[in-house]
């Protein structure tokens, strides 16, 4: 499975959840598969999906799913100790780990080499870390949403992309409709 297939698989599970989606192809793919006002699409700022998601989870009670990538977590590695030390049991970080920088041409990341993001998250102090095969992501995510426990999921999938249009929604429109859903 590649990332877009993982997203297609989990879309029904997250359609009514607050979602912060990573920059580039992940946001474009999720937008194409199932655009929801409960999704905050990142149009820029590589690396901050997990930080935005954690801030959102700490500030209010609804569940938050941050969809991140291995390359983006690597670029903001400081996020993992912050997550571990500021526990929000309404927060799930889903790292779709395809071992490559998908949006920029599938250059390999170190997470596809010797570095295990699950082991790093554990070493940082994250208490519930689940590494799973791409095919099991939906089930693991459903369990995490039911558990009321901060969970880091590392979904190991294959590298590869589908053709997808860019998001033309205005950023302020994305933010406005998202905040209305947060408050609803």
């Amino acid at each position: 499975m590649i990332r877009s297939e993982v997203l297609r698989d989990i879309a029904p599970v997250i359609s009514d959840q607050l979602v912060v989606c990573n920059i580039g192809l992940p946001s474009q793919e999720l937008h194409m598969i199932d655009d929801q006002p409960t999704t905050f699409y990142m149009l820029g700022t590589m690396g901050l999906a997990s930080s935005i998601g954690l801030g959102l989870a700490l500030a209010q009670k609804k569940k938050v799913v941050a969809i991140d990538g291995d390359g983006s977590v690597l670029t903001n590695f400081g996020t993992l100790p912050t997550i571990a030390n500021n526990v929000a049991d309404n927060f799930i970080l889903l790292i779709i780990d395809n071992g490559s920088y998908g949006s920029t041409g599938d250059q390999p990341t170190y997470a596809g080499g010797k570095t295990s993001l699950a082991a790093v998250a554990t070493a940082c102090g994250c208490e519930t870390v689940v590494e799973c095969k791409a095919e099991d992501t939906k089930q693991v995510l459903q369990a995490a949403l039911a558990a009321d426990r901060m969970t880091i999921i590392v979904s190991k999938c294959e590298s590869g992309n589908v053709k997808v249009p860019v998001i033309t929604l205005d950023p302020v429109a994305i933010r406005d409709r998202f905040m209305k859903q947060v408050q609803a």
């Binding site: 700022t45 935005i52 801030g55 959102l56 500030a59 400081g78 100790p81 950023p171 905040m179």
Partner: protein, 165 residues
């Protein structure tokens, strides 16, 4: 009242409930005050762009947020300021220690001090410079301005303001 509690009082009075910090020697007193306040959810960040991400999330979650950091962080956060805070029109008060001004003992700090105001001006970020202790009297109005216009706003606080390095 200490300058530190005065600053945090103004944040609280303006509804700020979430603050991220990356330490600077000049900001130690404010950070300690933030940590001790029940009204403030204080989350120390490892890097300032990470902190701005946390602030963006907290704001969308209904809590006004602010960041406390050193001016060297302007170099770290330009992309985040432009593509997250400004692009999505998020208000973000930034309380910034202005290292490298008069009284600075560390020569390297002068290098980023020389670029600080130019970079903030290039980004069209409203910028206020606290030099004398009485300048803190403007903080309340600056915070109101920030949340009125939904922009990042910089408050540069130099060594003279903090009465030393």
């Amino acid at each position: 009242m200490s300058i530190h509690s005065r600053i945090v009082d103004d944040l609280v009075a303006n509804g700020v409930g979430f603050v991220t910090t990356v330490p600077c020697k000049q900001l130690a007193g404010v950070i300690e005050e933030l940590e001790g306040r029940a009204e403030i959810h204080h989350v120390p960040a490892n890097k300032e762009d990470e902190g701005m991400g946390l602030c963006a999330g907290a704001f969308m979650g209904g809590k006004r947020s602010a960041i406390v950091m050193q001016n060297t962080a302007i170099g770290v956060t330009i992309n985040t300021l432009a593509t997250l805070i400004q692009f999505y029109r998020l208000p973000l008060p930034m309380l910034i220690s202005y290292r490298g001004e008069l009284g600075e003992p560390v020569a390297c700090q002068v290098e980023m001090a020389l670029h600080t105001k130019a970079l903030l001006a290039q980004l069209h970020i409203p910028t206020y410079h606290f030099h004398r202790e009485s300048d803190v009297e403007e903080l309340d109005a600056i915070l109101k301005h920030c949340f009125m216009c939904n922009k990042p706003v910089a408050v540069l606080t130099d060594a003279s303001f903090w009465k030393g390095y």
